[in-house]
Point group: C2
Chain length 177, copies 2
Amino acid sequence: MTNQTSATDGFVFNQTMMRIKDPTPSLDFYQNVLGMTLYQRVDFAEMAFSLYFLGYPSNHVEEALPNSAADRSRFTFRQSALLELTHNWGTESDDTFGGYHDGNADPRGFGHIGISVPDVDAACVRFEQLGVEFVKKPNDGSMKGLAFIKDPDGYWIEILNADSITALIGEHGTLGH
Amino acid sequence: MTNQTSATDGFVFNQTMMRIKDPTPSLDFYQNVLGMTLYQRVDFAEMAFSLYFLGYPSNHVEEALPNSAADRSRFTFRQSALLELTHNWGTESDDTFGGYHDGNADPRGFGHIGISVPDVDAACVRFEQLGVEFVKKPNDGSMKGLAFIKDPDGYWIEILNADSITALIGEHGTLGH
């Protein structure tokens, strides 16, 4: 059943934030490998960090991204399903920086983001050709038809298909309650 | 500019996964405090874990959630902006379980999820009345008009408004490139 509380009307799951070591490979990966669009970049020079907001325009509205900075910002922060990448300046050239924690080894917490795709096998063939690192290929293990890849910081990204995962889940799935 | 690679047509940012200690307070929080809808629950008894997929139906399609388990699953895994909560059975009653890592102390990585709301102050007054823990109230610090709250596991949730954050960003925002 859907929620009945009018106090939360208009709430939108806008963003998922992950820290990145270096925006150059991360923007290349999310824009060119995963096909996201960079909606907004925000630089805070006095605090030495930048934010990058990426998403799939086709996931929500079929309208052009606004071209003025303020209109673009108002648009960005009303959307759902954006990825926010935080770059603290300097990590990209700091040899002592140990990298960020992906959450899947102790201490665990956050696990992954997931992209639903029309064809997991075709997507993964292309990822292999592009040199993407895999945690799990589609035919590895018992969960056939879904994959996990790594982004440049090592964060896990599930690659799934709605029909395949429905077949996998089988009798395990129940409706929300 | 939007991405030009047809190989990623149809990609959807479907899910963000976080592990939770106990589904009872977490489902109460995400459904009743944040107003999300539970789309799908998946139980894997042989592996002793359950998955809960939640989202805002109003963020994408204005159609009823399908009522058969398979149709519900195919629907769920085509949506954008879902939260996936993973519950490894037993943690909720294990006194030795130390809890999950929110990613904002060392080792850092994932930072937060963010909810865009029509009125940050009104949302936060209600959160206070409901006993929600705050990391930052809307008027704390220099970033006026945005808040951070904690979910039952301590994960940070930014509460933001598109107009307020546009005013805050001011000249720091630039278009994607």
